[in-house]
């Protein structure tokens, strides 16, 4: 995403046929790529309605109806949240849902969701999956970083990443099985195949 602290060393990042490796966060966002952080930021004084509208600026703005619809999609009551601040008074889970709503209003070509289920209770995993489906139906590709099998299972394709390298790609269920059977909780190693 071009975040500070990550330097481009080698290779290309191709998006829509263009190398975007040297582009800034803003330039990438304007090409349709956005990111939802694992731990969303707090914005003292910034109203939820204004926050959700920011991503829609480049799409000609947003209507009140669409703002409400985005909040409803993440299971938040619009009348309760639209005029609240995206600040400390919101719980981590609420901020997470609002972050995801901001992705909906932006309508990106590619949404990168970093652990979208973190901070959200287990019961709500289905909602996250439904949200990913919504983004897909709205024309967005979704790249999800997750440790949850349920989230991976909702994907079309999964890759297993270890120490910055993709070890394996393919069917999400197959990748999940590989992860469960072969990966062990240590820094970077893959265990030998089980002897049957």
């Amino acid at each position: 995403m071009g975040l500070q602290g990550y330097e481009h060393e080698d290779g290309s990042v191709i998006f829509d046929g263009e190398d975007i490796a040297e582009l800034s966060i803003t330039e990438r966002a304007r090409k349709g790529i956005t990111l939802a952080w694992q731990e969303p930021a707090r914005f003292e004084g910034l109203k939820v309605r204004d926050y959700l509208a920011i991503g829609a600026r480049d799409n000609g703005g947003i209507t009140e109806e669409k703002l409400k619809e985005a909040l409803t999609r993440v299971d938040l009551k619009p009348e309760k949240y639209l005029d609240r601040e995206v600040g400390e008074a919101l719980s981590g889970g609420e901020r997470k849902r609002i972050e995801l709503a901001s992705i909906i209003t932006m309508k990106p070509k590619l949404a990168i969701l970093d652990e979208p289920d973190s901070g959200i209770d287990v019961v709500s995993l289905k909602e996250i999956v439904a949200l990913i489906q919504t983004l897909k139906e709205n024309g967005s590709s979704v790249l999800v970083i997750t440790h949850r099998e349920e989230i991976a299972a909702a994907s079309d394709k999964a890759s297993l990443m270890c120490e910055g390298a993709i070890l394996r790609s393919g069917d999400p269920l197959e990748i999940s099985e590989f992860f469960k059977n072969r990966c062990i909780p240590c820094d970077s190693r893959v265990s030998p195949p089980k002897v049957i």
Binding site: M1, L3, Q4, S24, I25, T26, R28, A29, R30, T34, L35, W37, P40, A41, R42, F43, E44, G45, L46, D50, I54, G55, R57, D58, E85, E99, S102, M106
Partner: protein, 320 residues
């Protein structure tokens, strides 16, 4: 002193109305006879309107106005009282002396706009004494506009006494245009079961100088307070914040919270001071000075904003 109790209007002035609007006020409220209002330009009272439950006295002095406002016992004033203090010329002095009393069980909201749109060599002083009576409530919002030149010294000073069960909420805001030199000096004595919340929000630019001095003495049992300061400074602006809270009584609770964002060559200093001499009182503090949070900026950039626009949104949110 002239004593005005009901709808005694003098003439209005287009310039001050325009300046009032520039400061964020709605000039129409100054003509609403159902709401109390007072408009002072330099040392001239341009209009004064009192409504039932409010006694408003004013006297023009060489450089300003002496004002005495009393909210009578038991009156809950339904509409906010609008005050406008300003000076239209590019130079001059304005001195406001304010003696405010909210009598027992009364309730009022004051909305003040102080506007100096052309200030190049202006001094504005306010010296206020405010008494919030037993179980009375005052909400006081003061918004300043000093124009683009920075040629102004603004010296608001107030001593507030909150009697038993009273509450005082104040919000001082100076976020558009230049600051010039600001020395904000408020002190509060809070008695038993009283509540005090003081919020200051200032945006300094160019070579603006900002001094915020706030002190709350929690003298009475169960008195509670918050000092909250939000400052943003950029260019070569400088700010000093001193927020003092003293806990002198059992179950007194106070908190001092200062957050400052600095950019460019700006310099900021924040000193929250807590003093407690009663073992059952508790006063806490926090202060943070620094650049705008990186994750906040990057989040907004990931929604398509340029970095400067993202910082602007964050700073304006903090000062909103």
């Amino acid at each position: 002193m002239a004593r005005i109790t009901l709808n005694a209007l003098s003439r209005d002035d287009e310039d001050i109305a325009e300046a009032y609007t520039a400061a964020g006020g709605d000039a129409a409220v100054l003509h609403n006879h159902e709401a109390s209002s007072l408009v002072v330009s330099g040392n001239k009272v341009l209009s004064a309107n009192g409504t039932e439950g409010i006694v408003l006295e004013k006297k023009e002095t060489e450089h300003g106005v002496d004002i005495k406002m009393t909210i009578l016992k038991g009156y809950k004033i339904p509409l906010p009282v609008h005050l406008c203090f300003g000076l239209i010329p590019k130079d001059g002095i304005q001195e406001i002396l304010m003696d405010f009393v909210a009598e027992e069980d009364s309730e009022v909201e004051l909305i003040a706009h102080c506007t100096f749109p052309n200030a190049e060599k202006v001094v504005h002083k306010m010296d206020a004494k405010m008494v919030i009576g037993k179980n009375a409530s005052l909400k006081y919002t003061e918004t300043h506009f000093h124009g683009p030149h920075g040629g102004i010294q603004v010296l608001p000073k107030a001593h507030i006494i909150i009697e038993e069960g009273g509450s005082y909420f104040t919000n001082f805001s100076l976020i558009s245009g230049r600051v010039g030199y600001l020395e904000f000096d408020y002190s509060v004595d809070a008695e038993k079961d009283s509540i005090c919340e003081m919020v200051t929000k200032v945006y300094g630019k160019a070579d603006d100088k900002i001094k915020i001095l706030e002190k709350i003495s929690l003298n009475g049992e169960n008195a509670r307070s918050v000092i909250k300061s939000r400052l943003a400074i950029t260019d070569n602006a400088e700010s000093i914040f001193r927020g003092i809270t003293e806990g002198h009584a059992p179950r007194a609770r106070g908190h001092v919270d200062c957050m400052e964002v600095i950019q460019g060559n700006a310099k900021a200093e924040a000193v929250p001071i807590v003093r407690v001499d009663n073992p059952l009182a508790k006063v806490t503090h926090e202060a943070a000075i620094g650049c705008v949070d990186k994750k906040e900026v990057e989040t907004l950039m990931a929604r398509g904003l340029e970095e400067d626009d993202a910082i602007d949104v964050i700073v304006k949110g903090m000062l909103a």
